[in-house]
């Protein structure tokens, strides 16, 4: 049985040809096609959120205005403008450098700030979705089963809260964060539900502020407040754990402490 050629795969991905009969009978080609589709989709997803900053748009408009005004006077001016842009970029003229020194950090700050706020909002949305669907979460009395469930969905085995923590496990779920599938679970404390969201993204990239953990958490904790919820985060291994809830920061600290303790137990 001869498998599909690369050209046939590309044709199918482009939607150009009817699907060959071979594909229906061949699991290997089906898997390869699924992989190619997944790669294309992930690539598309990556670039969807990329936008030109307002600073860049302003610079281009200014360049275009200058170029068009000068072009009306002499035909060689637009070329001169491009060269001027290069000179500004590479020769480090003092005035231009001063503008860049101010404009780029400001632009980066604004972009980071808006992206960070959006990411925090996504975290809070995950918590709200969890709370709204408490009865539909995947629940098992064995934390290892919950961890296995999340691993099967996200490829990562999260640290779970120790059953002795005194918090009631409400279940776990997978949600979308920055276009990716991430794992989360909900625990019920005395003040209300708290979601724990496990993602690789560092709290700094979410615009959270770093604070000392205080009495409860020994390592630095990152905190923020967004959408009526408090958010706190610590890093465990290669993932960051975000506790989110409409509860006091101290309650979130308690959850993070339990997580860190559970982590130490696991490593023994």
């Amino acid at each position: 049985m001869s498998h599909l050629t690369e050209e046939q795969f590309e044709a199918i991905l482009q939607g150009e040809t009817p699907v060959p009969e071979h594909l229906e009978a061949c699991p290997q080609c089906q898997a390869l096609l699924a992989e190619k589709r997944a790669l294309a989709e992930r690539l598309r997803q990556t670039f969807t959120s990329i936008r030109a900053g307002s600073d860049l748009a302003d610079r281009i408009r200014a360049n275009l205005s200058a170029a068009s005004a000068n072009t009306g006077k002499t035909k060689s001016r637009p070329r001169t403008l491009v060269l001027a842009a290069h000179r500004r970029l590479w020769s480090g003229l003092a005035a231009a450098a001063a503008i860049w020194a101010i404009a780029i950090p400001v632009s980066l700050y604004l972009n980071t700030s808006s992206q960070a706020r959006a990411a925090q909002t996504e975290l809070v949305e995950i918590h709200k979705q969890n709370v709204a669907s408490l009865g539909e979460l995947f629940l098992h009395e064995d934390p290892n089963e919950l961890a296995s469930y999340l691993e099967s969905k996200t490829g990562h085995t999260p640290t779970m809260l120790c059953p002795k923590s005194g918090l009631t496990m409400c279940g776990c779920s997978t949600r979308q964060f920055r276009g990716r599938t991430v794992g989360s679970y909900v625990v019920e404390g005395s003040d209300g539900p708290i979601s724990v969201v496990v993602i690789p993204d560092a709290p700094k990239s979410l615009g959270m502020r770093r604070e000392r953990g205080g009495q409860l958490v020994e390592q630095p904790v990152w905190r923020s407040h967004c959408g009526g919820c408090n958010v706190a985060s610590v890093r465990i291994g290669d993932r960051c754990y975000y506790a989110v809830g409409q509860v006091a920061q101290e309650r979130l600290d308690g959850v993070l402490t339990d997580l860190l303790t559970a982590c130490q137990c696991c490593s023994k």
Binding site: E7, L43, F47, R51, A52, L56, I60, G72, K153, T154
Partner: protein, 191 residues
């Protein structure tokens, strides 16, 4: 009767109306080529300035985005040549990496889920390791979802070359993601 300045102001206004809405698309293509960097912003900026210079050659009603991509690609190649002359090691020949990727291929299980573990920056970093024309081709086909004919016109090659280049680029992108998968100890990237 309008004088030259009025004509040029009209041209600039038309250009802004027709070309500038594609700013995000051009910037994304620049990021695909240069990564998230000032270089990507500079390339975007230069593309629009060059496009305005050549706006007289653009046929209203044709695909402006494809036209801008073509300008961006040509500017990028100019820059690469310049860097090469200056002694920088920039891969211009796609065969360099295509030959390297000759190892037997394994299919990822649950590729959808597996790929969600990579960060956007890892995806972009892996893409940037592809040869220049491969990564632009893959970007235009997969992200911009242009037809192979359009991509062939932008990259100045035959449609058959676009097909083979896309296929190689996809395989190569997967190879370039493997170190990250290993680093994160992801399951499913190997049998």
């Amino acid at each position: 009767m309008t004088d030259g300045t009025d004509t040029h102001l009209g041209k600039a206004a038309r250009f802004e109306q027709i070309a500038l809405p594609h700013l995000d698309d051009v910037y994304r293509a620049a990021v695909a080529l240069c990564g998230r960097s000032n270089e990507a912003e500079d390339l975007t900026q230069t593309t629009f300035v060059r496009a305005l210079e050549r706006f007289d050659t653009f046929q209203i009603g044709t695909n402006c985005k494809a036209w801008l991509f073509q300008i961006l690609r040509n500017l990028w190649i100019d820059q690469l040549r310049h860097k090469k002359v200056a002694g920088s090691a920039v891969p211009l020949d796609e065969t360099l990496v295509a030959q390297e990727a000759g190892a037997e291929e394994t299919v990822w299980s649950d590729a959808d889920d597996l790929l969600q573990n990579f960060s956007d920056d890892q995806i972009i970093a892996a893409l940037r390791q592809l040869p220049d024309d491969q990564r632009l081709t893959l970007f235009l086909v997969d992200v911009e979802q242009l037809s192979q004919q359009e991509v062939a016109e932008i990259t100045a090659v035959a449609v058959g070359t676009v097909k083979s280049r896309t296929s190689r680029a996809r395989r190569e992108l997967k190879n370039r993601l493997l170190p990250y998968a290993k680093e994160m100890r992801l399951k499913g990237y190997q049998p």
